[in-house]
């Protein structure tokens, strides 16, 4: 049969396949160039950016857990000025779209960031982080209350014409309610899930392992929760949903698409296998070939329950 169609579209920007790299797990793309063909990816999402450079949390910041890892990086990043000067030029050398993930301390900062990112031609879309569990400001406060989420997304929406993706936190009672708030504020797409708050204890020292005490759990351990949430949200909203959470294989990614995701993000897997996203894109295509499916879009949301 002919080569299956792998491209998908989210809010007007087209990707050659549905496989994106998740924020904070792929640097600014350049770091991985020696290990993965960047031209094989659907999109690259940057480390979360803020107006000013941010130091992040004290160490230890990461610890491995059963089937996953906890991180409390604390949104360390170079800041938008250094991003424009030092990181953005590299994006001109690749054709893969780059999505800027960002956050602010206040709704006004979110708006200012969106406005500044709007003027960067190398940025194809923005992903609004309202879900980082590891800092007091800049994320989770806006991501756990529907009214705050609405307010932030609305301001971002007004500040940019680029596609707006909102990244949702799983640390809420009702993620569908959060999704509706973002849709009402005219988000173009939703990505979920960010990490789940967790902790690890050092029994010998009788202390938390992470300096921040708690951290965000990621990796294969969270996949069932992520699948459930993607399924719930995709049924409830009419904008595209991007599935994230413990994806390690092409099979995992395809499960998210059956549950209703238009695209997926690969996160923690990049740390152990820098070529994972490319491997997954190839594996998904092979699945289509093996099953006689002409277009990957035919799979989206086709889960029978």
């Amino acid at each position: 049969m002919t080569k299956p169609e792998m491209s998908v579209e989210i809010a007007g920007f087209k990707m050659r396949n549905p496989v994106m790299t998740a924020s904070g797990t792929f640097g600014y793309g350049e770091e991985f160039a020696g290990y993965v063909d960047l031209e094989s990816l659907g999109a690259i999402i940057t480390k979360g950016l803020s107006l000013k450079p941010r130091a992040g949390n004290p160490t230890p910041r990461i610890v491995e857990t059963q089937g996953g890892m906890l991180n409390a990086i604390g949104l360390q990043n170079v800041g938008i000025d250094a991003f424009i000067e030092k990181k953005a030029p590299f994006f001109r050398t690749i054709t893969t779209p780059v999505i800027a993930n960002f956050f602010g301390n206040t709704p006004e900062e979110y708006a200012e960031m969106a406005e500044r990112l709007d003027r960067i031609p190398e940025v194809a879309a923005v992903e609004v982080n309202i879900s980082c569990p590891n800092v007091k400001h800049g994320g989770i406060v806006f991501g756990t209350d529907p009214k705050s989420a609405y307010a932030v997304v609305k301001l971002v929406r007004e500040a940019t014409v680029k596609p707006v993706i909102v990244k949702l936190s799983p640390n809420v009672t009702d993620i569908v309610e959060m999704a509706h708030a973002c849709v009402d504020a005219e988000a173009d797409a939703l990505s979920l899930i960010n990490t789940l708050t967790g902790m690890a204890i050092d029994l010998n020292k009788r202390k938390p392992v992470l300096a921040n005490v708690t951290g965000g759990l990621s990796g294969p351990a969270i996949k069932p929760i992520a699948l459930r949430m993607v399924w719930q949200v995709a049924r409830a909203v009419s904008i595209p949903v991007i599935g994230i959470g413990g994806i390690m294989t092409a099979g995992d990614a395809l499960e998210f698409m059956l549950a209703g995701a238009t695209a997926v993000q690969i996160g923690t897997a990049n740390f152990l296998e820098p070529g994972t996203a490319q491997t997954i894109a190839l594996g998904m295509e092979q699945y289509l070939v093996d099953n006689g499916i002409a277009d990957i879009k035919e799979l989206i949301g086709t889960l029978e329950v």
Binding site: G24, T25, F26, G27, E31, F32, G34, Y35, K47, P53, R54, A55, G56, T59, P60, R61, I62, V63, E64, Q66, G67, G68, M69, N71, I73, Q76, G219, P220, M248, T268, N270, F271, L272, E273, P274, G275
Partner: protein
Amino acid sequence: MQFKTMVISNAEVSPGYFRMRLTAPQEFAQAKPGQFVMVRVRDAVDPLLRRPFGIFDLGTFESEYPGAWPQIYFEILYRVVGKGTAMLSTLHHGDHLDILGPLGTGFTPAGPDTETILVGGGVGLAPLYYLAKEVVKSGRIRLFVGGKTQEDILCITEFERLGVETYVATDDGTLGASGLVTEVMERHLKGDVPSKAIFACGPMPMLKAVAEIARREAIPCQVSLEAYMACGMGACLGCVVKGRDHGEHTPDYRCVCKDGPVFDFQELQWV
């Protein structure tokens, strides 16, 4: 680069410490002393992350096939501390592993007419052997090595065979001098005239003491750090240490994996 490797040997050199020899592709021969590798312990989600190990040795051996290129090998020296290293310790000749590396910065060897001072604590000794091998042709080397007890003093015969003068200190006095390795080093360096450069790797308290001596005696000093890390290529930002200019409003975190693991001691904050 990323490559598949075969275990050539994996021997327990001291209780709980293993020395593993692995095959490597030709390009790996360019690895510098002080660089490290990330090892995927097995092809499963538990343990999830790779484990970092400094390069202990690197060399070639003749292939058994006539006319074939000599085979590159490298070695790691590790202590069994958790699940990942426990699994590694059970591997045998012929088993396979996946490697990312060589990663990070390496040591910058001292120039001619400069004596090389190596300071190692426990398994922190690992990257210093490959460094000693590289610089032994060009000048005098002294090694100061410390541990809690004699079982923590690893592979000093190998250093001595290279022609390195070796001084040992243990906390309990079971081997060499009784006390801290930095105390022994300080006694030996006192009043020494010729120019020197220190290369140190070991636990943080030892490195702090070494950095303090280097500062006081105005001796150039490079340290190799260990840290928890997820990726080894500067993406996760899990392994950072405070750089010289770090402050509340002037973040200056350095990645141990990418900006290091070897740093000039003056590049870091030691408080």
